[in-house]
């Protein structure tokens, strides 16, 4: 049982739809994120952090269960979480933690107030709701004085507000008339954007390069808005009595395509949607100013890390998740060679196998795509049919099959199968 004297507190802050590279400290000159930059300076940033499933509900369910989508059942938005799978709130409450939640939850078939003490805050929009969430979280950190260690969860919406931009032109809330006035300030179109074909959103129709650039201009402002709110929570922690004994984690459920490969939003295995920011800060107990581009990390690892630091046993069948603690503390450890992400968006179930230098997209019928992340970071050249890369593709399939053996499939789902 956790006691105040022995167990650290945890603040788990998550944002929605933030791309891994939308951080100014990591070199993006089109966005200004002074507060996340402080986290990067104060903690360890994992540069090869991948969503377990690049859509809201599945990714979030994986954070809170430590299990893959095909295990917990949330394979798509609105698919229900398996009742028998415990979540972090239930697990840690039963073991002595005070567990609190404010903001976006979005895990179907699991009421947040059954697993956490629900604090007020949150709406459907980051533009309106995030400020309230930050105020609640800051107030909590300022006022909490109970003996139990706490686990505070802060769910921001932004930059997810960008989803509403693609409703145009039928819903013209985006001010397309600004393309001319802001022309010189708009971020450039990505190298993978094909201006001849344009980008297509389901609701909004075809977008040319200027509109995509304006979309990304809005997107980066939304990132900056949530950066400010993250800063408020971080400042509140640093100014509180809990500063020295609290693990602070920031991540996102998935990224944002932003017109890359002529696509918007999420549900894709390209890095823009699959790779997410992940920063961990813990005073003297985790390395500061470290950027880890070597180790492959999954959203599944977050609950394993929290439980490790809390001194609590893992939840049942967390067979894929690994605690990041040895990496945060700089201790030698044998690490994994791959991370698998799942997706059940349009087109059926797919898997991504992310390896050190290659990434494979695998389909159930055996077809695949393969990209060299070292030579082709824009992921434009599919090497799957090139005999020179047959070995890499074969390895990806082996890793996938190993993954299939390790997970415990949801009782009502069909197996993706081995390849």
């Amino acid at each position: 049982m956790a006691t105040r004297s022995s167990a650290p507190n945890v603040v788990f802050v998550h944002v929605d739809q933030m791309r891994h590279d939308a951080v100014s400290a990591l070199g993006n000159r089109h966005v200004s994120t002074p507060n996340i930059d402080r986290l990067v300076a104060d903690g360890t940033t994992f540069l090869r952090s991948y969503s377990a499933n690049p859509v809201c509900c599945p990714a979030r369910a994986s954070w809170y269960t430590g299990r893959a989508s095909s295990e917990h059942g949330v394979i798509q938005n609105q698919r229900p979480l398996l009742e028998s799978v415990p979540d972090l709130g239930q697990w840690m409450t039963a073991r002595g933690y005070g567990c609190f939640y404010t903001g976006k939850w979005h895990i179907p078939n699991r009421r947040v107030d059954r697993s956490f003490t629900l604090l007020p805050g949150g709406s459907g929009h980051g533009e309106r709701g995030d400020a309230g969430v930050a105020s609640v979280a800051a107030g909590f950190l300022h006022n909490y004085d109970r003996r139990k260690p706490f686990f505070l969860n802060v769910g921001f919406l932004n930059p997810h507000d960008c989803c509403f931009l693609t409703f145009a032109p039928k819903n013209p809330s985006i001010k397309f008339g600004l393309c001319g006035l802001l022309h010189d300030e708009l971020p450039p179109a990505h190298g993978s954007f094909n201006s001849e074909t344009g980008a297509t959103s389901r609701e909004g129709g075809r977008w040319d390069a200027e509109k995509v650039r304006l979309y990304n201009y809005y997107y980066y402002r939304m990132v900056e808005m949530v950066d400010a709110e993250v800063g408020r929570v971080y400042d509140a922690l640093r100014n509180s009595r809990h500063a020295e004994n609290t693990l602070f984690i920031l991540t996102s459920d998935h990224g944002e395509m932003g017109g890359q490969h002529n696509l918007f939003k999420k549900s894709q295995f390209y890095d823009a949607a699959l790779r997410v920011p992940l920063v961990c800060v813990f005073g003297g107990r985790a390395r500061a100013g470290t950027r880890d581009g070597e180790h492959l990390v999954s959203g599944l690892d977050i609950p394993a890390t929290i439980l490790d630091y809390a001194g609590l046993e893992p939840m049942p069948q967390m067979t894929v998740a690994r605690s990041l603690r040895p990496l945060l503390e700089g201790k030698p450890t044998k690490w994994r060679d791959y991370v698998v992400a799942e997706s059940n968006s349009a087109g059926g179930p797919r898997r991504a196998v992310c390896m050190k230098d290659f990434k494979a997209f695998l389909n159930q019928d055996g077809s695949a795509s393969l990209y060299s992340l070292k030579d082709d970071p824009l992921e434009m050249r599919d090497l799957a049919r090139d005999p020179k890369y047959a070995e890499q593709l074969g390895r990806a399939r082996e890793f996938h099959n190993e993954y299939v053996d390790r997970i415990t499939l949801h009782p009502r789902l069909k197996s993706f199968g081995k390849l």
Binding site: G132, A138, D161, N171, P172, G177
Partner: protein, 274 residues
Amino acid sequence: MRRRDFMTHSIGASLLAFLTGQEVMARGSEGAKGQTPGALSALNPVSQYAESYVGPRGVLDTSRRQSLTFDVVGWRTDKGRQIVSTPVLGEITVKRSPLPGAVEYEVAQRLGKDETMTGNFRCLADRRHSLERWQFQYALDSKRRNIASMSRTEQSGRREGNKIITVTDGAETVSTSSAPLLCRWGLLDVACRMAELCGTGDRFTVLHEPTGLRPDQRFREDRRGTVGREGETSIRTFLQTGPATVPTHWIVDSQGRPLFVSVFLVSLALKEIG
């Protein structure tokens, strides 16, 4: 001219335009004298609300005490296909009191069932209504008193030369900036002469409570148009951009009244001058 007319036709044009996916045109044809196409792009986020919008009676008079009341307006869609409603999410009342050498704004905001902000903002009586000092409280109500108190944020701040000193829930932060410091409430009175803020290279820091200070904000004049049945009422739109600001339009009528502050998902619409 009936008050309703001055917006109805322009919004009718807006409605027609966005249903057909075309850029919005001000009332009248493109190229007609005094007309500029696309002026109402700035009004897109409040377009449905503005269909039945009745502008307020009264004029702004910054030499006396007045109150401005705004609806806080959102929008909802039919699964992304079109805006089906622009609900009123809350209300903001701004009371202005001129003082010797200063202007004080008392603000009360309510959003939804449970979100409140109250504050006092003291500005210099200069052309920009530069922010001198402020204090506000922000809270989310809850039936559980301990939870409500937990959500409360209190901030006070002041400008001392190039220093901006803020105290948030007891913790002090000092930042340095030579840029003029403004607040949204003072900008409502400055809107009638916002062109003065639109110089090349001018940057401002704007307080956006409860979050904090937004640096490097810039104002530019965007398109104008004429509205009203006879095209006799002109609207000027001023664009605010900068870090953490989605493009925000300050929309001013020919009397210098700030009719809308149009943002993206949450905008303001002036409904009463008292």
